[in-house]
Symmetry: D2
Subunit: 354 residues, 4 copies
């Protein structure tokens, strides 16, 4: 055989490619009609039994050279592509997915503060609410720098049942009083759906912790609240799982979700977690939801807070969260990663380019 | 200097070692007395402010050659050891920890079936309850081999809100009917504490899924139920976190916890998760609770079920869980990892040494 | 539309499926002829430029409903399947892949000892050769139990350049003398291809450490030696990468490769690494090469050596390697994981079912 | 007992703390003298047998309340601290460690270009050298933007032995010609120490790939060359292991090492690796060596190159490396992550704040 043969054979392949293309699209158009019937009948698009039948038919018709396994693998890809097309036509797409460059969710808080509007947001405050004085001292510093959202946990998830679990409702009440005093918004972690009603009296933004990212009962319940929800990425959640978790909230009625990257668990020991900044840049491509970065939990150490704050800003994220405590060494939790007031000012200076 | 000098200096070190030893123990004895006062006063053992003061005093007294950082690090170790001693004396130890070689929790189900008694337990059944017929077909096979515990989810945690989430209470009702028909016990996943009352009518053993391993509100609530609880290890939970999660249940009143290793998330792609069999052997050293192995989720593929069942048994685990479905290719979830009836028999044969 | 319409549309889909099937196989047959021309011309099968051209042609012909992205994705799958077919026909398959259930490589050492013949092999000895006396004491114990292969490193890879790097050639000489005294085979780590000639005088089985699993220059050079090679899995190598690394050796002329699973790096801290026993069972399906399990490095602690040895045997692996030292607490490396002589006997007892 | 008792007991603890402090420092001073004798005798500081003896003596003297295990753990910390002190006094410290804020290694290339001098360096070029024309087209674009260092592999590590392994010496020769034509410096990967001499004729900066980060024979050999060495972090190397690998080169005589973070292997699939930007900020604290970021391999996708370039700059890194190819879709390797010329300009624009 010669190079001429090669040319000839390639022409035949080109021809077959176009025939396959035509059949694939014809097939997709019919499948789309089927999808409409399914939608009308209220039945599911995905019908594994039907797929199994089609594969059996193909298998018995296959005469090679492709093996049955290869044929089945190729058709499974075709099925998947078709299914995706049907679902897209019925539901348009995943609600959290971004359509276009300027498709951006901007969240407006009761006091008019916006998140996701292009201005870099700062959320800080102590890990947990410990006392009125502690919150007051932090809030005074925040007010000085124009920070509008203060954090403070009333309920704190802990690895050990014997560790400090938060002050509960009294802690939330303190947070509310302090926020009112300084004209701030409060964000605090919601750990169980049974707490939603009570916490709604105190909290302007709920946040879901990493341990609860896939607690679908909680996520669904937060789809019904009026407050925005910050959803923290699970310790070892993929970005895909993260977006699906957000979809649980949005699909249940609450469009105001903010994604928070807080570091993933890896083998590295010199940081508490590994900040997945590449993931942040991918999220900004994939979803219209605001994305913020927790530079405290992702690092677990305060000595890199300043460069990480700059990194978060450079990544295109919509803001950062970090922990500020009047006296970190005596904090009841996470003492290694909380910043003191002076360090808080250093981060603010860095963000302001000073 | 000579080798004689070396001998002399080493003697001095030996002398100092013994002096330090004496002081450490004297210190521990006093700390123990302090611990008793704390316990009487109802205050916490751990007092970070007091530790901070002691470190400052040491720092200002330190004249080297050890640096302040080293001195602080060494004393933090001493503090930690002392605290551990105080806590041990007050609470004996973590409730889930094993004291001695024959310290073993044996769990007895309503029908007298035991888990953790040295006999290797088998728990199987479909991933989710799909229909009466499906459960019936599986249960008949189980009965044939003397399997006493059938699994079947009514509520199924899913990554996507658009995937099949389980039949709910009707599914649990089917599972109960089938179990009653064949004289079996039912285990099913509990996803939220609000479901406990209802599910208690149907289920003999609750299980907590990997996504909820650190849902402390759920764990605490399960400390109040009468049924045993299977606790699945979180996707990326350390063994230490796993034991602390079990401690939440036990410390809240339910001693009947069964730990389930179900694979951890790693970079490897040819298995769905990585079965941490070394972790199983460590758990058997550390805790008196029964430990079972989920060979379905840890593998994500049925073609290695037989060797994994043998591995689980060889590891010293108390049993296995796996998924059996009459027709895995059409299962509504996890179709790649469910065994068909024939494969179920192969696993049973392997366990029986056939 | 009605259910009858559904039936009709499904019939059309079935028809199209068969047409696509026929075109795919026709396309594959032509591609196979092209592959033969490539082989004759000595050119590569994979031609990215040609693929790019075909994709551009399809894109410009595509009129939907499938998007260009979906069409390109589907055709890339077809290209990949076709390429796989061509390569298979030219090279049959990856040399290390298993063809059938009884396709097994059995490796015969100079003294007739076999690995992979169905008998469970035990390889043990100290981490590193430290002295003649040390090796002698260990070898005497091994001889007592019929162990035929002794390990001992002359060159030891260390994280820090200041740690003990092995005795070098004198250490290998000791290992050889001891092996000759007791009628044993020696295995030792080869760290650089420049050492092959020298080490060949002392060593019966080379092993490649985890750090060098993808050192292709070393792997290629080991394709030229007459000794078998144990290839340790890299710290975070996928099973696929592991098999490709073995393929480097086999494709360069040395068919006698033994794969060693030695634990992968994960977040878990209570074991040094995570033994991927599921991976072992998958390797036994995928390759005809013998697979052994290093129960020392995968655990990093000796207190689980006995159950891990049983686990390895139950998994279907062909043997184990572990470290035995006369006095582990004073070993120059890996002291926490080396077994003492008594513990060596416990492992042997466990393997013999005592 | 009362609060007064508490005060009294705390006073006693304070007293004992100071006594322990004094003994620890006295012990350290003696140990330091022993260290000097060791240094004079040329023997190792670390003597595990001596440590074992001391622990046995302590164990037999211990009368509690601390358990033997706790006492041994505390003394092991004391031993470790003492050893650290001795080693510090003998060798000052790990050579790569940073002493003070302005302790920075600045590397000067033959043409006067500096790395680590506070100016952000850009290194780019194709993954592998494929042809003169390819290199020429890229270099022309680089020259336009003032990029002084071009990359291009002659030897390419590949997972499969059947993939393109690079053009070898002819490829390096092309890179050299192009660099000379445009007045640039060349960097290329060194895969085995046997290639050093030959490659020295073509290459201005060697780089060690991730797979070879712990190839100590290669690292030691690169300690003897006159060219700077870029050391890429291993796929799953901790930062500590990374610094020790650099120490191998520096301790063997070559102080001109540049660290390159290139992403670590995690479970996440939407990026090829996970860029550990937190690790970069920690490295900048721990070492005086320049640190650069590979935004191609860490991402594996070109659509996030612009934000990652900004992130790298914001992190305090000394530069970036990325891949630029005239026609990425037809590249012989890594086609998904190589930028085309236009995208190269976008990254340069972003770095210049345009």
């Amino acid at each position: 055989m010669t190079k001429n043969d090669l040319q000839l054979l390639r022409g035949q392949i080109d021809e077959i490619n176009l025939q396959i293309l035509e059949l694939l699209n014809k097939r997709a158009a019919i499948a789309s009609d089927i999808g409409k019937i399914h939608a009308a009948l209220g039945s599911r698009f995905y019908d594994p039994q039907r797929e199994a039948q089609m594969l059996i038919a193909l298998e018995s018709a296959n005469q090679g050279p492709f093996s049955n396994d290869t044929i089945k693998a190729l058709f499974r890809e075709i099925f998947r592509a078709t299914l995706a097309l049907e679902e897209k036509q019925a539901r348009a797409k995943m609600l959290v997915q971004r359509d276009s460059d300027d498709d951006r969710t901007v969240i407006t808080l009761p006091d008019g503060t916006e998140i996701g509007n292009g201005v870099f947001s700062v959320i800080t405050g102590p890990c947990a609410v410990e006392s009125y004085e502690q919150m007051d001292e932090v809030a005074a510093a925040l007010a000085e720098r124009g920070v509008k959202i203060i954090r403070g946990m009333g309920y704190k998830p802990r690895t050990s049942p014997y560790d400090f679990q938060g002050l509960g409702e009294p802690g939330l009440s303190i947070a509310r009083q302090i926020a009112n005093k300084y004209g701030m918004m409060v964000t605090s972690e919601i750990m169980d759906k049974s707490l939603i009603d009570m916490m709604s009296d105190y909290v302007d933004i709920f946040w879901v912790g990493a341990r609860n990212m896939q607690n679908s009962f909680l996520l669904k319940a937060l789809g019904k609240v009026k407050q925005p929800v910050i959803l923290k990425r699970g310790l070892s959640a993929t970005l895909e799982e993260f977006l699906y978790a957000a979809e649980y909230i949005v699909a249940n009625g609450n469009p105001n979700v903010i994604l928070m990257e807080r570091g993933i668990r890896t083998f590295e020991k010199w940081t508490r977690n590994t900040l997945d900044i590449g993931g942040v840049t991918v999220l900004k491509l994939e979803t219209h939801l605001p994305v913020i970065v927790d530079i405290s939990h992702s690092a677990g150490r305060r000595d890199i807070a300043v460069p990480l704050a700059k990194v978060a800003k450079a990544s295109g994220a919509d803001g950062i969260m970090f922990e500020t405590h009047p006296n970190p060494p005596v904090a009841m939790s996470d003492s290694k990663q909380q910043l003191n007031i002076e360090q808080f000012h250093q981060v603010m200076d860095a963000l302001e380019g000073k």
